[in-house]
């Protein structure tokens, strides 16, 4: 017999995802709270996607860092851009 208060992790993670970007209904909120109370995995999931969201938001106006130091335009490409700019200026 299916107990209507129990949602799956699939449903819970969906609600956790949705609530980062929009208000959710009271009904969904309650179902989520019950699930998260009993499911450690989903509890971590919720915290983690929220934490990640905060990190990404802080990088909105910056390049994302990388270990690769070679994120460089080739000299050829730079020259090409420069020529385009100078041409457009004249």
């Amino acid at each position: 017999m299916k107990i209507p208060l129990m949602i799956t992790c699939k449903e819970a993670t969906r609600i956790l995802s949705d609530q980062l970007d929009k208000p959710i209904s009271l009904g969904r909120k309650i179902l989520l709270k019950i699930h998260v109370f009993m499911c450690e995995g989903c509890s971590y999931f919720g915290k983690q996607i929220k934490g990640l969201k905060e990190v990404f938001a802080r990088k909105s106006d910056e390049p994302l860092l990388t270990k690769k130091v070679e994120i460089l335009l080739s000299e050829e490409k730079k020259k090409s851009f420069h020529e385009i700019i100078m041409k457009e200026l004249s």
Binding site: T13, L52, A57, S60, L64, I71, L89
Partner: protein, 197 residues
Amino acid sequence: MNNPRKKTSEVKLAPEQWVEKYGNYLYHFALGRLRNTTDAQNAVQETFLAAIKARSSYSGKSTERTWLIGILKHKIIDHFRKTYREKPVSALNFEDQDTDQFFDKSDHLRNSPQQWHITPEKLLENKEFWSAFALCKEKLPDLACAAFTLKEIEQIDTKEICNTLKISASNFWVLMHRARLQLRECLEKNFFGRDKS
């Protein structure tokens, strides 16, 4: 003693120096948002062109670099709009919406999240994290990646994202769910869960 504030009319742009001063920075920025080097280079080129055309509108209120980044951000959205213009989505591909793969037979998350012992603050300047993120982002299906990038990184309004990608709001929530499930799992595998002793 501070100099009196420069009048905005005195603040000039120096386009001859743009490539040298900002070329790599803009390219680096674009690479974080777009899929490949070609797209990123095109976005930078279009930014320079648009900036020249709009140079009379530069008020000096922001720095030259900030102003250029603002234009680049628009070019990035334009790129997505162009990519998805011809293909309005009537229903998502299986790949974009499938989330079954992340759950096991008893409907639990198959790789049950572990606790992450690091604060968001510490992640900001962590090169390993961002490298892992780049790797993980690359594995996302195209549309899910686009939705995620525009929402979480570029902070674009949901409605505008739907218009840009030609998707419904309901598509959008499915894509975000998929993106978050996959990214979180991948990041745990490649960064957070490593070196556990």
